[in-house]
């Protein structure tokens, strides 16, 4: 009886294995542009800290000229949907979501930031601003100081 139970369990285990066989890995979408010099594993394990570090630089010290900005991430790593346009983070095919869904980690970047390249952004203030933004701002400041 004991042997029968063990044999059944082993058989069950083996069949589970074969039924589930196949790749356990993801199809990570290819990016355009140069590969990261630090290597993919470095970026996979450190991207969150790098982005957060840049956020602090930008927000607290006003430095906008930084190596890795979220905008350049989503430009190189854009994934095109069926309509040949980059998909937003709402789509499961979005570059960030592929791994984040796999590992159950919620992304909160795109609650504020744009998840598609600048040209395709719906309301990208950073990139869709008029050319004379600076003049408008200066005029405004001048008015204030009068």
């Amino acid at each position: 009886m004991k042997r029968l139970i063990i044999a059944t369990l082993v058989l069950f285990g083996l069949s589970y294995g074969t039924i589930q066989a196949g790749s356990v890995y993801l199809e990570i979408p290819m990016a355009t542009g140069e590969p990261h010099p630090e290597g993919n594993v470095f970026w996979r394990t450190n991207h969150m800290d790098l982005l957060r570090h840049d956020r602090d630089l930008t927000m607290r010290q006003g430095e906008r000229d930084i190596d890795a900005s979220l905008a350049s991430c989503v430009t190189c790593h854009a994934v095109n949907g069926p309509d040949a346009k980059p998909v937003t983070v709402k789509s499961e095919d979005h570059f960030c979501r592929v791994c984040h869904d796999y590992t159950a980690i919620k992304i909160d970047c795109f609650q504020c930031h744009n998840s598609v390249p600048a040209d395709f952004g719906e309301t990208s203030l950073m990139f869709n601003r008029p050319d004379n933004t600076l003049d408008i701002l200066l005029a405004y400041l001048e008015e204030l100081s009068l």
């Binding site: 589930q20 890995y25 594993v41 996979r44 394990t45 800290d49 791994c99 590992t103 980690i105």
Partner: protein
């Protein structure tokens, strides 16, 4: 190489854990309980016994009644560990269940509770003289082992991240009888080795109090000695 080593380690550890716990539980089930000894006041119906066991397992009722601060640390640790363990399910299911995604951030906070509870229990062993006197090396070992597991786990979240996509690939592979590469981050390897050690010593340690509670005569018996005579099978034979 490390991947193969850890794959073998985890297959062996799982086998020892499952078979070991099953054998121990079989022994508990067969152990004679010749006397009616539920801790009074005890429930008088089977339903009541289920309810009492539920309270014992879910809120540690008898510990709460006997010592409030041991209960506090014990409960912080056990509840924290429950959420942390549930959070780890993301490594063994390809598709993520909705609740699993929901508890992810809470699992990080739960790790604080777990460590606070364990530290409290360790301090108790060292500071309370009466407890120190009756503490054996294995009592310390369990606490230190669990603290080390929690510390290395939190280290991977807060200090030195690892490629968790690869980690998930490794564990999904184990479930499908294939050996996939494992990242060779020291923090991860120590974490996994300690967890395997915990799995291996679980069936021969005090940690068996988990499955054991269900077999405790003082907790699982009905107070019905007036209605129904409690008699062990071997004693019954003598009377016939």
């Amino acid at each position: 190489m490390t991947a193969t080593l850890f794959a073998i380690l985890y297959y062996v550890a799982t086998l020892l854990l499952v078979v070991g716990v099953a054998m121990k539980m079989r022994r508990y089930a067969k152990a004679p309980a010749p006397l009616k000894i539920p801790t009074m006041p005890a429930p008088r119906t089977m339903k009541g016994v289920y309810f009492r066991m539920f309270r014992e397992v879910v809120v540690f009722e008898s510990l709460f009644k006997s010592n409030k601060w041991i209960w506090l640390f014990g409960y912080l640790f056990h509840f924290g560990m429950l959420v942390v363990v549930l959070r780890h399910f993301r490594y063994v299911t390809y598709d993520i269940w909705w609740w699993l995604e929901l508890i992810q951030p809470f699992g990080i906070y739960a790790s604080y509770l777990m460590v606070i509870g364990l530290m409290g229990l360790l301090v108790r062993r060292i500071v309370v003289e009466r407890i120190r006197y009756i503490s054996s090396p294995s009592d310390y070992l369990m606490l230190i082992l669990l603290i080390a597991i929690a510390a290395t786990g939190m280290g991977m979240t807060f200090v030195q991240p690892v490629d968790i996509v690869a980690v998930k690939g490794f564990f999904l592979g184990l479930l499908r009888l294939q050996i996939n590469p494992l990242p060779s981050s020291p923090m991860l390897l120590i974490h996994l080795a300690l967890v395997a050690l915990l799995m291996i010593i679980f069936p021969i340690s005090k940690l068996m109090h988990g499955p054991g509670i269900f077999f405790s005569p003082t907790r699982n018996q009905i107070d019905n000695s007036r209605e129904k005579r409690h008699i062990a099978p071997w004693a019954k034979k003598l009377e016939e």
